[in-house]
Symmetry: C2
Subunit: 129 residues, 2 copies
Amino acid sequence: MSKSPSPVSVLDAQCPSRLVLDRIADKWTALIIQLLSKKTMRYAELHREIGGISQKMLTQTLRSLERDGLVERQVYPVVPPRVEYSLSRLGRTLIAPLRALCRWSEKHLAELQANRARAKAKRDGAENN
Amino acid sequence: MSKSPSPVSVLDAQCPSRLVLDRIADKWTALIIQLLSKKTMRYAELHREIGGISQKMLTQTLRSLERDGLVERQVYPVVPPRVEYSLSRLGRTLIAPLRALCRWSEKHLAELQANRARAKAKRDGAENN
């Protein structure tokens, strides 16, 4: 495939790729895709593994991911119904870029916290003088 | 370096790395860092290049990025003051992961839109039957 310049640009507010970026540049999307990259999971498992996500947010994010064809939802007709989530082929192409963001957050945490503390001290100092 | 398991985990709601992920997994952060990866820019230039960002959102995002030490703000004492933004050393380590997200959005736009349309047609069909 040739790498000719594309008219599609996330910098253009009118370009629909902006909506896609908005969908994937999201903390919950990153965490859900990271978990499903390891295995198919049930709703309750996802809810347990992602600390601090509300049921409403998990349901909403899973629905968007399913609608966009990134996640597949499989319902097994048993009682009570068993519902499992897994990554689609397209969803799997997001594993690497989103994992890179998660790893960055973990790796640079200390540096970022030190920067924040320094900025806060500077601000506080300015207020007291 | 060994790849020993880290106690830092974005999956843990109490881990501060979650806050870092929230900060960087953001559409505006991705766009600002992509632009500053090419050159130092003034506020007005950034505002012009990023279609659809409000002044409030641009100011807020730049302040957070500066506080976290990802962006450096340089004020030149001229009249009117000239203010320039550039990436810090830490900020430059974010170029590659965030560019990957932007490129993904542009590359998979058509597929995602087709999936959305299919999901919508299915939903509409279900409602009419």
